[in-house]
């Protein structure tokens, strides 16, 4: 079982892993996925509340905001474990990215309200600030005291369950980060069905008026938001790494148990070598994530940035490849909806397409590395 290998002297990481495993016992991921899909629900809010209770939400919020003040290392362990167990949640966006945006904001009542809600699970704070890996800034203009927003943004998860959105708006050449209540006038949704059967929404803002106290950051630096997105990317990478690892384990177990021509198919050399290659990919994904965590904990911002791009690209490709190959190794069974392996593939595609695809991130890596 490939996994993130990191120092864990005080056993904190192992405890986090165990706590997710216990959660998965009572909330098996595939069961939740099947229950959610096709009926228009975008997330399991009851489970989200449980996660809040477990202390997993707002993990990266600073202690001043009531957060655990833990780092990306702990977040990665949780995300990896969720990925392994296929537990669906908008963790990377509605916990990690939200936390980091709030952490970057100056003190304000709105910031405190959102942070408290996020930690308690009572507010579901969904950032809608990027698409296709690029920042999306909506059009804004001031009308007296109010800010008026127009525009739309695609690929918004949990847009039904959200209580608040965070968006970026461009006004007079400055970028503002705004909090918008989900029930604000002028805010509407159009849904598409996502690959996992849950909706991905297009958020449409038409003449949406935001009060000044809803402004979280007056002048957002792109760098700050990019850094927050990189941490969300890392969380998604860890989740993908967990997905890849478990899909590999499933392929291994299935081929050991499946007998054809009087032998377990895992005893055929072609299958063995293919499993070795898949295992290698899963191991490389895990190492890439650990590498990024270590750079993120260090001082070299550029190195950290590159390491995150590499980790997301590797983990996305590994998860998709392993699940595709696993389906093939399962044979006809892999092509059924009954088998969980297909759900792993769909999750891999879903997370792989989020926050920038592998190919795009690789090109970005080289361009940024060469720009040194």
């Amino acid at each position: 079982m490939p996994q993130l290998v990191m120092d864990d002297e005080d056993g904190e990481l192992a405890m986090l892993r165990d706590s997710v495993a216990a959660f998965a016992e009572s909330n098996p991921g595939p069961k939740t996925v099947r229950a959610l899909r096709g009926n228009g629900r975008d997330m399991d809010t009851a489970q989200w509340a449980e996660m809040a209770e477990a202390g997993w939400l707002g993990l990266m919020l600073p202690e001043e905001l009531g957060g655990a003040g833990l780092g990306i290392r702990h977040q990665a362990i949780i995300s990896e474990a969720l990925g392994r167990a296929l537990i669906p949640s908008p963790m990377a966006k509605a916990s990690v990215l939200s936390s980091l945006l709030l952490a970057a904001a100056p003190d304000s009542a709105e910031r405190v309200r959102l942070a408290e809600g996020l930690i308690a699970g009572s507010a579901i704070v969904v950032p809608a600030i990027e698409a296709n890996g690029h920042l999306v800034r909506l059009n804004g203009r001031r009308e007296g005291n109010m800010i008026r927003i127009d525009g739309h943004i695609e690929f918004v998860e949990a847009a039904h369950s959200a209580t608040d959105f965070v968006v970026l708006a461009e006004i007079d050449g400055k970028t503002l980060a705004l909090s918008i209540p989900a029930n604000a006038a002028g805010l509407s949704r159009a849904d598409k069905e996502g690959v996992e059967g849950t909706p991905l929404s297009i958020l449409v803002l038409e003449d949406c008026r935001v009060a000044p106290e809803k402004c979280l950051i007056e002048n957002v630096e792109a760098k700050t938001v990019e850094k927050a997105i990189d941490l969300a990317r890392l969380a998604a990478s860890a989740e993908l790494s967990g997905n890849a690892s478990r899909a590999f384990d499933m392929a291994r177990e299935y081929t050991i148990n499946r007998v054809q021509f009087g032998k377990p198919i895992a005893s055929f050399q072609v299958i063995q070598h293919r499993l070795v290659d898949l295992w290698t990919e899963a191991e490389m994904a895990a190492s890439a994530v650990v590498n990024a965590i270590e750079f993120l904990e260090g001082d070299d911002e550029k190195a950290a940035r590159l390491a995150v791009l590499a980790a997301k690209a590797r983990a996305s490709d590994a998860a998709s490849l392993i699940a595709r190959r696993a389906i093939h190794l399962y044979g006809a069974m892999g092509f059924t909806d009954e088998s969980d392996i297909g759900l792993y593939l769909k999750r891999a595609i879903n997370l792989g397409g989020m926050l920038g695809q592998a190919e795009q991130l690789r090109r970005q890596f080289v361009i940024e590395e060469r720009a040194a």
């Binding site: 698409a131 296709n132 890996g133 695609e154 690929f155 598409k192 069905e193 996502g194 690959v195 996992e196 059967g197 991905l200 007998v259 054809q260 021509f261 009087g262 055929f268 072609v270 299958i271 595709r324 389906i327 093939h328 044979g331 006809a332 892999g334 092509f335 059924t336 909806d337 009954e338 297909g342 593939l345 595609i349 879903n350 792989g352 397409g353 989020m354 695809q357 190919e359 795009q360 090109r363």
Partner: protein, 384 residues
């Protein structure tokens, strides 16, 4: 008087066939998203073909077929694909019919063939079992002869469109003592008999294309046996003759590449040399698959027989199909997260549908690993 199609020049036959099909195949059935529509969905088209006498291209004329030789059959299939006609439920035409024509009694032929042509009997094929996928020799569904009936017990799986069929021809074990590949027989089973249960299985795309079929003491009259008892393995293997080539016909990758091109045009991707380069590889792989397909088609046209080497087409074909659909998701960017079709100004592109569908052909009809095993032994003559 029945036309002797084989006597016509190829291009004349092609023109006649195309013209009529183009005029009669309903527009809404062309280039369907669904690989396997049900009889109900294509009934009118099925009946139109039946009435015209063109439903069954290969059956001899005396049984209501067109009696096409392989060369003309190739044209039939090519035009069918080019015009985007839907696949019709074809197990009766493609499998039951040839089986009965070759091995059936006169009574069996008289009873069953007309009902296939009329659409009254919709057939499915009961080969695979839960523990006999690629390895048919280990099948366990049993049939015991008692009082003029075979009593059938067991389970079939991956039975395509069984829930839409009313007859099934099944491979059953009639001698448990014989070596695994002996002792197998073929029975024709009325699916409305007591003890037959069908359970559809949803696939990755959420569609119910295939089923499990359970047999619980099903009493099948003895005259429903095809050929001799315990000779079913030979029968089953001989049914697919030259038609194996169509497993390698580049229809699916062709369709998928067309969709990829449409999406790429809509998204301006051809402006990106990186995409152009990857697209070019796929385009040329498809083009070259066409050249290879043509090599085998030529053998058929000139009256030759196909060898095991034709399996190479199936491997190239199915793996190319996968690569094309993977590229489609890459091209889609974050839209790769959609189950819904992707919108373009020239109509929707069913990227995820194709991506998921492309997982199947490399598995079914003998997995690509099995095909490679066969090629290694039968064509390359490798030891061991």
């Amino acid at each position: 008087m029945q036309t002797d199609w084989n006597a016509l020049p190829d291009e004349e036959f092609r023109a006649i066939f195309r013209e009529w099909v183009d005029a009669n195949c309903p527009a809404e059935l062309r280039f369907m998203r669904k690989q396997r529509p049900t009889y109900e969905e294509v009934k009118d088209w099925y009946q139109a073909l039946s009435k015209k006498g063109w439903l069954s291209p290969v059956w001899p004329v005396e049984y209501g077929g067109m009696g096409l030789n392989p060369a003309k059959h190739m044209i039939y299939v090519e035009e069918w694909a080019r015009l985007g006609c839907p696949r019709i439920p074809d197990h009766g035409i493609g499998l039951t019919g040839p089986l009965l024509i070759q091995y059936g009694t006169e009574e069996q032929k008289a009873e069953f063939l007309p009902k296939i042509l009329s659409g009254e009997h919709l057939w499915c094929q009961g080969y695979s079992e839960p523990n006999a996928g690629s390895d048919l020799a280990s099948l366990r569904t049993s049939a015991v002869l008692e009082d003029g009936h075979f009593v059938v017990n067991g389970q079939k799986i991956w039975t395509t469109l069984a829930h839409c069929a009313n007859w099934i021809f099944v491979l059953v074990r009639t001698d448990k003592e014989a070596k695994p590949q002996r002792g197998i027989s073929v029975l024709l089973v009325d699916m409305t008999l007591p003890g037959v249960t069908v359970r559809p299985i949803a696939n990755l795309r959420g569609e119910k294309d295939f089923c499990e079929v359970f047999f619980d003491n099903v009493k099948v009259p003895a005259h429903r046996l095809v050929g001799e008892v315990n000779q079913g393995w030979t029968l089953a293997k001989s049914v697919l003759g030259h038609e194996r080539i169509f497993l390698g016909a580049p229809t699916r990758p062709e369709y998928a590449l067309g969709r990829l091109e449409k999406l790429a045009n809509a998204r301006g991707a051809f402006e990106d040399p990186a995409f152009l380069s990857r697209y070019a590889k796929l385009r040329l792989d498809l083009y070259d698959l066409g050249s290879s397909f043509e090599r085998f088609a030529k053998i058929l046209r000139s009256g030759g027989e196909l060898g095991s080497d034709v399996s190479m087409l199936k491997i190239v074909n199915t793996e190319l199909y996968q690569r094309i659909t993977e590229e489609m998701l890459m091209l889609a960017g974050e839209e790769s997260r959609y189950n819904d079709d992707l919108e373009t100004e020239n109509g929707d592109v069913d990227a995820m549908n194709l991506f998921l569908d492309s997982r199947a052909p490399a598995i079914f009809g003998g997995s690509n690993e099995i095909q490679r095993n066969i090629l290694a032994k039968a064509v390359l003559g490798l030891p061991g």
